[in-house]
Subunit: 262 residues, 2 copies
């Protein structure tokens, strides 16, 4: 059945997240404070950054000793050699580089700039002596699954969870929201065999559902000082959307051997 | 000001669109039938396919004479030589190809598979003797601008319009909604100079706002037999979103010389 309405709601007054915080509890508390009831099929989209903060994925740049390889690459791309060292450590391989840009395959498989390492929206020491950056979470899929399971256990409601990040793309300007971690819904919606309006078998066979949700939520999360890291999307008919085998962010990763752009 | 809610509504009972139909009038009539009032900052997202149908961008494959180049490429990619001929005619250049796939730069600048030529959701002759395909619209930006202007003139309301399509991507499985044409909002939201939560200047500087809207709408439009080609997105604070110089789909096209993946 096709749905004809979706609602997106950014949770208000979400607290700043610090290392060691129990993020799942913070999310559940905030839902309670806002008197938001979750319904089956609701999707919670969580900005990667607060997962990383809770998991203390901070690194102090001064503590990083750049390798020879990092120093060489740093000159080519005109970046801080310590940051380049971290990018290399977080990655399986460098896909492309040019001045200002390093595109890598992150160790979790995502192809993205700078291995997703971020220096914005991070608290800094007042005298700026301790420069920190923030890595991606250990496993966005695991976090998504944990939040999904906890809510099912506490409230008896099956929701879905997407952990998203903003990323650049080949061919196009600007960033869009992308799904890093997924639980409770098919990240990739397999529509092979379904028919179109005129009874022909569909040509477009797989929809990156979780990436579309990640982009939709990103409209409310923003990149700047909005402070809206959690978005609730209601109205999807997830129960009828497909195979459980695609219920994770890894389903969205195109295998290298099938990729014309690596 | 950050918004904290968005609503997405797919227009119901939208009629099938035929060559020569006045699509803008059809949209305005449907809004009336559904008793939907447009408000400033609302965004109408229109599936490319109905714009192409109204503009009669159909081509009968039997009327296409494949060139030598098309015949050669057709063998390499294992596709109908007439379709390959059309793909080449619609494109500035072939970016990559392999069996089953031709990625091109469309003559309007989009990098996409098969020049956006589509054979699903198209009415076919009952005996299937006349095989047709559908090209992209002449100018999605022009259509978006015309609809935007007409609604401003008729109702005195400034809305935004996005014409979207579903496309594959480098590195990731599945299709997502992408903006081909844009009017009335910055397709690319320039956030350079803005500050983050902690007063640091933002690193992520440009958000592909129109692509995120295109993906969000795609959640309701679907690819199959949903028949929901028009989606209304309400709640964005478009008036405060940036420069008029980015108010078209072309702003989203990364220049070839700045693209590491061409």
């Amino acid at each position: 059945m096709a749905v004809d309405q979706l609602q997106l709601l950014a949770l208000k007054n979400f607290p700043l997240v610090h290392p060691g915080d129990d993020l799942i509890t913070l999310i559940i508390q905030n839902l309670g404070e806002q008197q938001i009831m979750l319904n089956p099929g609701d999707v919670l989209v969580i900005a990667q950054k607060i997962v990383s903060k809770a998991e203390d994925c901070y690194v102090v740049l001064n503590e990083i000793e750049p390798s020879d390889q990092a120093q060489k690459l740093a000159i080519q791309v005109d970046k801080d050699p310590r940051l380049v060292e971290l990018i290399l450590r977080e990655s399986n391989s460098v896909v492309r580089h040019c001045p200002g840009v390093i595109i890598v395959e992150h160790k979790l498989g995502y192809v993205m700039a700078n291995a997703g390492i971020d220096a914005s929206n991070i608290e800094h020491d007042s005298n700026d002596a301790v420069e920190r950056v923030l890595l991606l979470p250990e496993s966005p899929d695991d976090f998504a699954q944990q939040l999904q399971t906890k809510i099912a256990r506490l409230f008896g409601v099956n929701i879905a969870v997407v952990v998203n990040d903003s990323v650049g793309r080949a061919w196009r300007n600007g960033t869009v929201g992308m799904a890093l971690g997924v639980a409770g819904l098919p990240a990739l919606r397999d529509r092979r065999g379904e028919q179109d309006l005129f009874g022909r078998t569909l040509e477009v066979t797989e929809v990156a559902l979780a990436d579309e949700l990640a982009s939709a939520a990103s409209l409310l999360q923003g990149e700047g000082n909005e402070g809206r890291p959690v978005v609730l999307i209601s109205g999807l008919d997830i129960a009828n959307m497909g195979q459980a085998s695609f219920n994770n962010g890894a389903a969205l990763l195109r295998p290298k051997e099938k990729d014309l752009f690596r």
